[in-house]
Each structure stands twice: as structure tokens, then as C-alpha cells.
Symmetry: D2
Subunit: 338 residues, 4 copies
């Protein structure tokens, strides 16, 4: 850690900072510049709190120089992690598209969706049985019954299922009912109690980015899961909140190269929630794969205009098929396979 | 609801929208302008989903004209709600300052804090036993044992206690241990499962604004609590996330007059988390009360430099006393009392 | 325009709004819903100011239903505009990459850059003689002398030149010295005096998006240029400002499909300024073309580590060549040509 | 400057950084920690560019430890600067309210406004003759003729005038016509050519904050003016752009204590543009003064509903009078005078 003192800091204030550092078992090195004095703390700086040091008299700024995350950091684990989802690989050279409807509605809707997903060459299926909705008066999902419908329809096409966990009390039932990948949604990215619980199981977890979460906070949220023992983590960018009002969110494609550099874990993108309109999805999906993403979460619905939620953002079966063909070609330019 | 059609919309597309509106049991009125056709849906528009309508061919935009929230809206309940916390009133002409340390640490720290809080003329005490922390490696609070310490120290000074609930599984124990006001933190503002549960009890709830939650989302989160039956809700602005990096968050003082217009429920501000530095607190606290806030959450610590968390933002006992005097004078200019 | 009245609006207030609309020569239609009254203004609503109407008693909200921009809107001009830059087409099926150094430094640097740009198959060259810098103490560009150096080096390779205009008083000299495309930078997107002046000439203009400009404001800025008579306008997305601090800006790739829908004018992206680091450029550049952009502005420098400004974001000659090959392949998947 | 090397940096890379620092005439000190090596550059680090250093191989991060601004920094000039506007002091213990209409419209409107401003006890008058408008089709102000009207009306009440300069070519005429304070608007905060020109004259300048300008960029913009020789600079916060859509901007009251710490120059707030609605103005104005601002820019109009621009945000004469009384009382609590 580096502590920069105020221009007017006294020797007594400098000594006080050095004492605090030594109290924690670290060493201190002092370097006097022309305008300011800088103190370096040598040792495992993760135990020093920069805010505490900044509250000491005469301190201008305290900065960590090592990253606050460790298990998820590429700095400590150089090779790409490849997540295995019932035999389907995600990461490294392997790209996976995950598709399906926003909400589970009826058995026939799910059967049609599963068939369309399979027919388009997609290997993993998504669907929501529990829906986090801004309004208490909106449709909240059909619950565990929906999970059964979903599993049955997907299994008939041999597709592993991805679904969102909202409530820590549901985790055991999710596992019993055969959920293959647990999704942690945007609003729960910093629901630390939920993160701790999914850290204790071994099923892969898709961790969506919070609406205004920084890359560093997102990596720390993954570190919560990883530190519990579950290293099967997939980051999912799904649009961030900005000042722009012409579209729902801004898909942050820069997060892809940055995360790939910071972490060894795979990174996927959800272009459907990012843009919020079906007509934007092909453009955003292509951009995501061209940027180097390891996969996508794409909403599709057999009959989008009749969907019970987020109707506006689901593409239909034929659009999914065309998209898969474009994405496969882009992947091959990058020496990857879908 | 108002539906604006594209300039190039066909009569068939217009008829299709009208059919969808009538299917839901509402009436439709059509108004043809020079450039565009506008359709109005007449009836209880809350059952119409603007996103669904926008996905229909030929529709440019669909807009709600009634507010999506109802119980919390001033439109439907004109007088100020006054929340009663063990006999201390908050709302209307009554301003309450709530103060105490960020974290519960030791019995002697809590006893000293409670005495200082009382001595400054403050009537309600805050303290955290469970702490939501960005890093899994940071101090996470001392848990239920801390809650007991806190209740004991506060009761000795006859101060009701305010503390944060992180985990839905802790609610019963919180009530058993005598928590007087439950705080829902920033990261949980849209943890809908937690909101539903606190909606079922009757203890007052402080609902902090999410880091990048809009006023409308915040009101809807309160509507989750209210629709469960608990109308003792206090909004707490605590700084929003913006592009600015010189301070932790931007305290959104404009939220005060806007919320006071939109809702009958009380609105308080947390200047300590907003700014993130103790030296900013007096300035921000005065601004909050001058803007019309119904109260404050202010961090104080008997010995700030030794605090276990967020040291940098706690003021000390003497600063709290000075601040209380300034705030009391500002309140009286506005014909209110602290 | 649609005016939504408050639930409690009186008949007198409704009549007053109708009078104001009629005063402006428009017609009014009134539609009484169950909860609220809505008034429609029929005629050329561009002359009504929503803010003025919202200041009238009893008005909840006033909304334009026609777009505020007209010349640049696809609504009024359906085919893609193709900008012709000395015989090189940009727009429609034609993609153009524009490359070169951030700053003009020396004749030999510019000669080397021009050769590398040409060798990579790029047809247009960029370079800055006047630099807008955050600090008055930073290098501000070498001025008109640099413009001469740039023009000479580029002409030797038969490359039209693109350069930024900072000062309205420089416009004539820019044209005399043979600038082929004028760039209006981020900080000047709403320098309306500058926009009005470039609207009077006929040289193509690249209009960069303001750091936090909405799509609508950006289109209106282009309308300033277009309403002066210059319709050779190219939009350039270059990263927006958000809460994220891990990278300089967030490249807003969603702006591409959205602008392509709203305007007939071409849209390019500057991945170098967006990310701020050379290692991000290939990933972001591929994403931009895959999303449907009509071109790119890419910084390259013959010897990046010796660059006088923005060193960190320039790729070198060999990286440019590799990138051009990838982009050409992606373009062909989309049936376009580079 | 501090340069933090990557964990995997080689000795050769470290030596290369040291060479670059020495090339610039500074000294280097190396400090090897357990995980990383840190290099300090000793001397006048303002000549080192952190981005250049970060582009060198093996460098993780380069950080300035001295502030990039100097003339405007309190670090180098501890006492408050008091700006003298024709005998009226602004800064130190002196608070000034500046009021008047958004736009100059007619001689009678300006005469009525000047009388109302004077009657409320306000000592400085504002008004716009040239208006920066988002749309080229909106009213752009009545120009120099309006300036004459404004000066005449204000002089009759002995009020110095404050008005916005949009075009560098207008500066001389502004001075000839007796403009007492030049306002640089939000959209021109980084119009560096304009800043350089107002830096050459001696009339006080109100520098409004850019819509999404950081505190540091704002201070650097002031440094542009100051480095030209004009030190009569007044900062004006006027609301920043965020994700919130319920109000026009977010008034950043935290900027007040932060700027007062960073700079010796005065800081005022414009609550009218910040909120965008007249009914918010009293609340925001009180908050600004309570936070420690040195003054306000408040829009007032003799007949707001007839205003030609920004009607919705102007208060009327009687509201201004009431507000002045509240503000005077708040100022006296802080031992200041209005």
C-alpha cells in the first residue's frame, strides 16, 4: 500500500502513520519527494484498510497496489478456466449460446421453445420460473411448478437448464429439481448471503453484473462465491445504467476484453436485457462474439407477441437460426467454435 | 395509457392495437393528428404492459399516464404520514436525527456511543451487527451477539434501536431481540423476497435507496412493503452513483422535494455514507435539513480513528453536539422541530 | 403533443391549456379517462414548448409525439446517405477505416504513418494539429504548421485527411489548406456557434458524440449543421462517461443499431478513445463493425511508445494490418465491403 | 509520480522505466515490496505523462501525487479569494444572490425584473441575450440588442449585470457594452479557446460546471482562465447528469465542501437549472446556502408563465422575496451575511 502525505504534513504525523503500519505487522519505507512524502507499506497489504489510513491526520491518500481479489484473478491463475455443463464446455476456445424464453408459461410453450432452441443448434436452455419484477403488481413467475415444466421440456431435447435463483431458501429445491446452472440476477449481485450459499455448492453459477456495478465490485462478488469453494463461475454482462434514455441499458462490450485480462473465468453477454428490444439483438449479439465473449444469453420465444413478460426483447425461432449462422462465422474468424 | 403509432402505421396495425386494449377489458379512443395517430386506453391501465404494446407492429411508444405505485402515492393519500417509533414521531413537523456507530464492536464502545448520542439530544440510535461488505475478506460484523450488546447499551439510555437486516432468515430473531426499526440497505433495495417479508410485520422500515435506483423504482420497492400491509416506511437517500470520483457518492438532495411531492411517507438522508468523509458531514447534514428532510442517519463514533469499519466517515461526540445545534436552528426557520 | 393533466385538475385549468394551444394556431382534442384527462394538440407541435405547458397549473406532463429533428431523421428520408470523400464512399454497403496518429509531430513521423496506413489498405488518414487538452500545461498540438506537414505526407500517399477544428476562427484556413473532412470533437458537440459555421460549408463533417450526450441531443447537434445546408455529416461514437473507472469510457455499441434506425446518415466508431488502451482496440474495433458501424477512426502510430500524446491508445503498423484483415472478413459476413 | 510495476515485471522493464524518468530530468527511487515493485519519480512530476508511462512494458499503473492544478489550488494559496463586482464582494463571509430572467425579452420585462430583483434585496442581476439551445429551431436569444436593454434596465436600479458569452468573437463587444460578469456556460466549460480568451481580460468570470465534468476537470478548466492572468473566477455548480429521469439534473451539493477545500476561489450554485422546476427552487436554494455556498444564481421572472424560455424554472417576485428572507437567516447561523 502507498500512503501519500499532505504537503503540509508534520514529522509527527508521518511517524504516526508508520506506527500504524508496523502495528499491523508490516514494514514501512519512507520516500521524501520535493513536494510530498510517500510511505510504502511492505507485506500483505490486504489487511490494511485504506479508509482507516486516510482518516489519520496529515494523510492525503492511501492506495492498494495489489488487487483485492485473488482466487478469480488471472494474476494468480494464468490459464482460461473452462466450465463443464453436463459435458458442454464453456470457455477457452468453446463458445456457448444459451437461449430460451424469459418466463416459463405453459408446457406447450416450453416444448415449442425447447424444440426451436435445439433446432437452431443451441446446446443450453434458459427460462425463468421466479421473476424479479420492479412492481409488486407485475407477474412474478409461476414458481416451482414452472421449474418442473421447464426441466421436462428441456430434458426431452437433452438440453441442460439455466434458471435464476432469487431466494436463498429455494436453493435446495433447485438442486433437487435438477437445475444445471444457477443464475444470480443483476439485483442480487451484491446479495452477499445468496452468494455465500451458492459458494457452498458445485453447480455452475452465472453471475450477472449489477446495474451500476464496477468491474472491481463484480470481481469481488465472484470472489465471495469462489471463496466458499465453488469455482464454476461465469460472468454475464447485461447492460449498465447510464444517462441515456433511448434504450434500456448500455451493453458494456469493453467489459469483455477487460475481464478476460483480469480473470481466468469465462465471460458471456446478455444482449436481450441490455438493449431491451428484439430488433437490437442480432447487432448486439454479433458485437459480443466479435469482442471475444465466451457465450451469450439470448431470449427467444416461439410466439414473442404473446409472451407474458419482456415480450419486446425476445427474438423468434427463425431469427435465432439466422443469428446462430452469423455468430458461427464470426467465431471461426477468431479461431473459436460454437 | 397512451399509444403513439409510427408515422407509417397502417389502419390494420391501428386496429390490432385497439383489439389488444379491448381484449384486456379497457376502452380505446383514437385521435388522428397531422403526422401521427394516438390511441388512448381508457380504464385501469395498470394491467397493460407498455413493453408488450411497444412490441406490436406500427407502435412507436406506449406510455402510462397514471403512476405505477398507489399505496405510497400522495396522489391517493394527501396528508403526511407520521411514523411513531416507541413514542418518538418522525414526519410532519417532527424531525428525528438517528445516530451511532457504523459497527457494533464492544460493550464499552456501545455504552460510550449511547451516552454521547443521548447527550447530544439525539433520540434514536443506529448500529450495525451484520455488515454488507464488498470484499469477502473484510470484517462482516459480529452478528447476533452484537445485536444484544447494542440493545443493552441503547436501552440503558432509553434509545430505540435501528439496525440493518441482510438475510431474510434473520427477521424473526431481529424482532425477538427487540429491534425497533429495520433498515433495508442499498444493495437490498430490490431484494424483493426481503421486501415481501418485512411487509408482513409492523415494525417501521427504513428503505435506503439503491446505488443507482430511480425515484420511481424506489417508490415501487416501498410499494412491495406497503402492499404486504406494513405502511411504516421511511425513505432514506444515501448518495447515488455517478461519474464523479472525488467523493464516494453524490448526495441527491433534489430527491427530498421530489419525494415529498410524490409520497406521503417521510424522507430522511444519510450524509455519512453519501460523502464518505467525516469532514463533509456537517455541510451535507445542514443541506439535507434545509432542503426539507424529515431526519438524518449520522454516523458517530466515540473514537473514530479506532473504528473497525468506515472509520473515515464517522464524526465524534463533540462534532455531533455542534451539528445538532446548527440543525435545530435551521429546522426552526422552516417551522419544524428537532 | 400530449398534455396529461393532474388527477385533481379543474375544468378551468383544462380550459386554460386548451386556450394556450389554440393561441399558437393548433387544435386541441380532449379525452377524459377514468383517472386523468389528456389533451392532444393537433398541428405542427414543434412550435409548442413542453416546459412552458408543464408550468401551467394542473398540468402533470407534456410530451412531444413527433421527433424534434427532421433533416437528419430517417422518418423523412428513408435511404442511407452515402458520403463521398474525394471519391471514397462511406455509408450504405461501404465501410471506411480512418487511421493515423493522435498528434502531428514531425514530417518523418507523418511520412512513416502515411505509408503504414496506406500499406494496411486504409484509404483515409487522421491526425491532429490542434489538440483539446484537459490541462493548460499539456501539449496543445503544433498548429497550422502541423496541418501542412500532415497534408503533404498524406498527399504523397493519395490519402484524404481528417482533422479536428477547435476554433471557429480557423475554419477558412482549414479549407484553404485542403482539409478533406472536418472533425468536431466531443467537447464541442454542443458548441453551437461552431456547428452553425460548419453548416455553411460543404466539406464532410465527423460529429463526435459528447461525453454524456444523449442520442437525441446528438441528433439535434447534427440538425444544427444540416439546417445550415451541409448534409455531409458522419456520426462518430467515441465512448460515453459512466460510473465505471476501470477504463476511460464505455464504448456504446448500442448507439449503432439505434442511430441506423433514427437517421439515414452514416455512423462510425472510435475504439481508440473509447477504451483508452491499445490492447483493447482490436476487440472493440471488431465489435463495432460486427454491430453494423459504417467505419472506424483508429489511432495508429509508427512508434507508439514515443508518441507525444495519448501514447497508450495507438496501435502500431503491424497491428493495424492484422486488424484490417479481421475487419474485412467480418464485413463480408454482413455483405459489406471495406 | 508513483509507478507500480506488474507482479511479473522483469528487471529490464524496471530499468527502462527508470531511464525514461531520468531522461526527463527527474530522479527515481525504487522500492521492492513482496508482491510488486514501486518506482517513485522525484522532481517536478507535472512534466511526466502517466499515460505514456502506462504504455511501457511491465507497468501496471502510474499515478500523479501532486495536483495537476496550481494557481486555483488552496494547497498553494490558503486564504479565501474574494471577488469584487463593482463594489459588491463575493466570497469569504460574503454571500451574493444573483437573480433575473433566463432570457432578455422586452424593455418592460427587464425593467420589471430589475425592480423586483432590487426590491428583494438582491444586488446582482442575471439575464441571457444569447441562448445556447439544444434545438436549432428554438429561440436563440435576441442578441446584442438584448444586451443593451438588459444593461439599461439594470443600471436604472444600480445592479451590475451577469450574462453568458457563447462566441469568442463577441468578447470585445461584451466588454464595450458594460457586461460586469461573464458567464461561461455548461456546454462551453471545455471550450478551451473561449477559456483562453476570457483568461486575458480582467472582468470576473462565472465558470459553470460541465454536465458531466469531474471536480478535477472543472478545476483544470479554471486553471486555463487563471493561467492567462484572470484570477477573478467563480465556480458555479448547476446540476450534473445522472441516470435519474424524474428531474432534469442532480444538484451536486457535495461539490460545495469539496471545492471549498480544494480551491480558494468562491463557489455558487444555480438551483434553477439544476432542478428545472420552480417549485423545487426554494428547497434547493436553502440546501445550497446551508452547505456553505458563496452565492446563488436564481431565475426569476416578473410573469413566469409568459417567459420565452425555461418558463418552468423561474420563480416570481414574491417567491424571491420570501426565499431571500429564509436564506438570510440560514446564512446568519453560519456567521455569514447576504
Amino acid at each position: 500500500m502507498i500512503i501519500v502525505m499532505d504537503k503540509s504534513a508534520t514529522q509527527e504525523q508521518i511517524d504516526n502513520v508508520i506506527d500504524k503500519i508496523k502495528d499491523k505487522g508490516l514494514d514501512a519505507s519512507v520516500s521524501k519527494g520535493i513536494e510530498k512524502t510517500v510511505i510504502g507499506a511492505i507485506g500483505d497489504e490486504r489487511i490494511l484498510d485504506p479508509e482507516l489510513l486516510e482518516s489519520l491526520p496529515g494523510v492525503q491518500q492511501a492506495l492498494h497496489i495489489v488487487k483485492p481479489y485473488k482466487i478469480v484473478a488471472r494474476e494468480w491463475h494464468n490459464e482460461d478456466t473452462i466450465v463443464n455443463i453436463n459435458g458442454h464446455l464453456l470457455g477457452g476456445e468453446n463458445i456457448q449460446i444459451i437461449s430460451g424464453p424469459c418466463s416459463v408459461e405453459t408446457p406447450s410453450q416450453m416444448a415449442a421453445a425447447a424444440k426451436a432452441v435445439k433446432a437452431a443448434g443451441v446446446r443450453l436452455m434458459r427460462g425463468g420460473a421466479f421473476k424479479p419484477r420492479t412492481s409488486p403488481y407485475s407477474f412474478q413467475g409461476i414458481g416451482f411448478e414452472g421449474l418442473d415444466m421447464f426441466k421436462e421440456a428441456a430434458s426431452a431435447q437433452d438440453l441442460p437448464i439455466v434458471t435464476e435463483l432469487l431466494d436463498v431458501r429455494h436453493l435446495d429445491t433447485f438442486l433437487e429439481k435438477g437445475v444445471d446452472v444457477i443464475q444470480i440476477g443483476t439485483r442480487n449481485m451484491q446479495n452477499f448471503e445468496l452468494l455465500k450459499e451458492v459458494g457452498k455448492v458445485h453447480v455452475p453459477v452465472i453471475l450477472k453484473r449489477g446495474l451500476s456495478a464496477t468491474i472491481s465490485e463484480w470481481l469481488m462478488a465472484a470472489e465471495y462465491i469462489a471463496s466458499g469453494g465453488n469455482h464454476n463461475i461465469i460472468f454475464c454482462e447485461r447492460g449498465i445504467r447510464t444517462f441515456e434514455t433511448s434504450y434500456r441499458n448500455v451493453m458494456d462490450v469493453t467489459a469483455v476484453p477487460v475481464l478476460k485480462r483480469e480473470t481466468h473465468l469465462p465471460v458471456i453477454i446478455d444482449p436481450s436485457h441490455a438493449g431491451g428490444k428484439a430488433w437490437m439483438v442480432p447487432s448486439l449479439a454479433r458485437a459480443a462474439i466479435a469482442a471475444g465473449a465466451d457465450g451469450l444469453l439470448v431470449e427467444m420465444h416461439p410466439t414473442p407477441c404473446e409472451a407474458w413478460c419482456d415480450a419486446d426483447q425476445a427474438i423468434d425461432a427463425s431469427e435465432l437460426k439466422t443469428l446462430m449462422s452469423e455468430l458461427t462465422q464470426i467465431a471461426s474468424i477468431l479461431n473459436r467454435k460454437i
